[in-house]
Amino acid sequence: MSIGWALVGVLVIAGLGALGAVATGSRGRALVAGVSTAGVGVFGVLAGVSALGGEAFSKTIPQLLPLSEVTVTVDALSGLFCALIGGVAVIAGLYNIGYSDGHGSRTGQSLLPLFVAAMILVPAAGNVTTFLVLWEVMALVSLMLVLAEHRLRPSVRDAGVWYAAMTHAGLVAILLGLVLFASKAGGESFTALRDADLSTTTRSVIFVLVFVGFGSKAGMVPLHVWLPRAHPEAPSPVSALMSAAMVKLGLYGVLRVGLDLLGGGPRWWWLLVLVAGGVSALFGVLQASVAVDLKRLLGYSTTENMGLILLGVGAGGMFAADGNRTLGSLLIAAGLLHALNHAGFKTLLFLGAGSVLRATGLRDLDRLGGLVSRMPATTALFGVGALAAAALPPGNGFVSEWLLLQGLIHGLPGADAVVAVAMPLAVGVVALTAGLGVATFVKAFGTGFLARPRSEEAAGAKESPRTMRFAMLVAAAVCAGLAISPASLGPALTRVLEALPTVRDGSPLEGGVTLRLTGIAGSISPVLILAGLFVAGLLVVVLVRRGLPRRESLVWGCGGTRLDPRMEYTATSFAEPLTRVFDDVLRPEHDVDVTHHAESQYLIESVRYRQRVDDRVEAALYPPVLAAGNKLGAVLSRLQNGSVHRYLALGLGGLIVVLVVVGLTA
């Protein structure tokens, strides 16, 4: 199918879906919204796949958008992101059918297909205004979706305001950067921008501005503050769409503007990206490793993974700026592959978290547990996602992190001091991130799903409806596909890299069963690892199956008579060693309330301990800004104290100033 028709399909289905969801009663609404969202996603995938297959598309519609025009251009880079978003949408749409059945709000459901459509169209934008409009439509629709459950929890409102503010701040940076770009280039179509001949300073200003903007969308520290708030509060299909798909558009922006339109740049740009990515990865994973709210954990994990992706892109850009295209293309391919992998497993994880939330009403890991016997399918599928997110073989996250590490360590020969310092640190960051990531997902899966339930809600959990499980199964299958055969994405990634003039260098990876890197020695075979594990496991099982049958017995509680689930290790206690090790970074707050007996202060009735780990970056950076704003308001409202005389005095003062200025400048 041609890309143009696919995009038309996206729009038409989204419109029909939205109208349908508005018109349908509460019973069928989720079905309509879900099916149309999935439909939009299918068309997005079709468009993306066509573009990745080498088809290109460009169209200008001057009748739309006052003061500008609509230009749509799809190349392989756009195609990758269209396909990614479309894929996530298909899964989230299917999931929504069961998830929102009977209680999805009219607004929330009808906006779902529109959100997906906006996201799919963003990478298809071909000029600055079109891009900005679509970008902001996407932001607005997602904001409204985040707010969909505002009646249930007051925290939704806060999350919405933070999200709105941060996303708008990001827009401001992008807007300024792109408009500056367009004005210097003398035209606002991407073609004109690409051909522009600008001074280095201008290019750097533009890059830094757009990087800040796109970084905020990608959840970069310190602009990430919206992410761990908004993702947990949104309905789960929306969380999945935002976390798996929308944040990727930040990556798209960096690639499109930095490597395509600006055509690469000096090395420090990419060092900046690398550092921002590294800091985000570490900070994100640290926060995730101590998070207790399952969806908040997943939100921080998104910051972590986007950090890793940008770290790869930054390192790739650095090598490309040095003229080392082999490593440049390898690292950017690693970043793109990780983006795909992240989309896969984060969709799965958020949907899993959604199922848990739906079944128990809980996001608090400390109160979950025991789901493995109550929601076996959900548990298993979440486990698949957790394995991938922990970047362990045979999960799909492993392959892309392996690629990333390969790219980083091969930069050392022939490097200069900057690279020689940056690369080991980058490897250290990736490694620590990976290690903490593993701890994080062991915690999420182990305390959230295994053992015995720690609350009545968790004890009463029921398995999710079939459509939800099916959607998660699809996501798991995608993850599995990506895990087993990353090499098959080689041609597509090559075509994407061809859209980036300063990076492209043949195909970075090849091979079938074994993934091989081109230009440097390195190979990995996910299939063989999986097969090896399977064979060895089979061997173990076959060899030791003889003997006495398994017996179930009470948990060994050192002979104690009562062993209740509250004695289990919780997520908080699981994370306690890490909290203590990273004390200086996390600064946890402890509250100990001791209640004494009425009769004597020496007898203690109860001790209540609470630990909270706030976002330290947020606490350090944002309150001063807010305080400054309030101060400004307070100062200015003194001008507006109600006295006519003061108002008139202001006018007289203004008049005098004007007269003096006129007199002086005569």
């Binding site: 496991g537 003997g547 306690e576």
Partner: protein, 312 residues
């Protein structure tokens, strides 16, 4: 023919692993003035455990049952692909340093999840501590690997070992020495030996590894114990062959393999004895001093990488 090498290697490791533990216990017993149970005791323990009844605590799930198998399987894969006896392996695509590290971690994760799945405070505590140590050890391993691979231009273990054999002098380079120290600390931490963990403790509060497996019984326990012996062997073997690559067969011929087997057994036995002897002189570190140890090894890792660049 190289398949033979794999089979020999796997069988060798399976056989040797419990004996290694036995040797280490024996060394330790002798240094403590005891007679010791003999090097074959671990095998006797295992034989008995395999005949005993496996038990699942109430409320646990398939994770608890599957974990020992995953643990053993992941270690077996490493045993099959890494160059312990011979560098020629048909599973070249797996014999990557990072893949091996990840597979080790996979085993750790399986056991940690099992520990959490039991629903006891000890299981959770062990899992929590184990994951903390594993997470903090990760940067050192990868940086040490970085330092080793920088010389070779590949993270393929066979390639690194072969390069070591071709230029024995490079083993004494500062980068390699620093990497060796860094990796040694990590091996100790990953294998759960003193001063990070005490494998023979009976005091639950100081346990890391043991706390996770407190609920295992019978053949499940046998698998776990076997796996931990095998992991120790694998780690010591890897360390030995990365820094002392002599004797590893580069062809799949019978004499070369034989030499490889002998060299491997000797190296691992010596290293095990040294490790056990060292443990006699050490007390276990407090859990929250462990990060300091690992941070130190991380520093060595960084130094190893940068010295391989600046001093090369």
């Amino acid at each position: 023919m190289s398949t033979l090498g794999v089979v020999v290697q796997v069988v060798l490791l399976i056989v040797v692993a419990p004996y290694l533990v036995g040797v280490m216990r024996q060394v330790r017993a002798r240094l403590e003035g005891r007679a010791g149970a003999g090097a074959g005791q671990p095998w006797r323990d295992l034989r008995k455990l395999f005949r005993k009844e496996p038990m699942s605590p109430a409320g646990s799930s398939w994770v608890f049952v599957a974990a020992p198998a995953v643990l053993v399987a992941s270690t077996l894969v490493i045993a099959a692909v890494s160059p312990f006896v011979a560098t020629v392996s048909p599973l070249d695509g797996v014999a990557d340093l990072f893949a091996v590290v990840a597979l080790l971690l996979l085993g750790t994760v399986a056991l940690a999840l099992a520990g959490l799945d039991t629903g006891t405070a000890f299981g959770g505590m062990g899992a929590s501590r184990e994951m903390t140590v594993a997470a903090l050890a990760e940067p050192t391993i990868l940086l040490a690997g970085f330092a080793l691979s920088a010389r070779v231009g590949s993270t393929n273990l066979s390639a690194i070992v072969e390069r070591g054999q071709q230029s024995p002098g490079a083993v004494l380079s500062p980068a390699t020495l620093l990497a060796a120290v860094a990796l040694a600390v990590v091996v100790v931490a990953e294998a759960g030996r003193l001063p990070v963990d005490n494998p023979s403790t009976h005091l639950e509060l100081t346990m890391i590894h043991e706390a996770m497996v407190l609920e295992y019984a019978g053949r499940d326990l046998a698998l776990v114990e076997f796996a931990s012996a095998l992991r120790l062997t694998v780690l010591l073997g890897l360390w030995a062959n990365l820094f002392l690559p002599w004797g590893v067969a580069t062809t799949a011929s019978a004499p070369a393999l034989l030499l490889g087997v002998v060299a491997f057994v000797a190296k691992v036995a010596v290293l095990g004895a040294v490790l056990a002897a060292g443990e006699v002189f050490m007390a276990k570190l407090r859990l929250f001093r462990v990060p300091e140890l690992l941070a130190g090894s991380f520093l060595f890792g960084v130094l190893a990488v940068s010295s391989s660049f600046f001093l090369a």
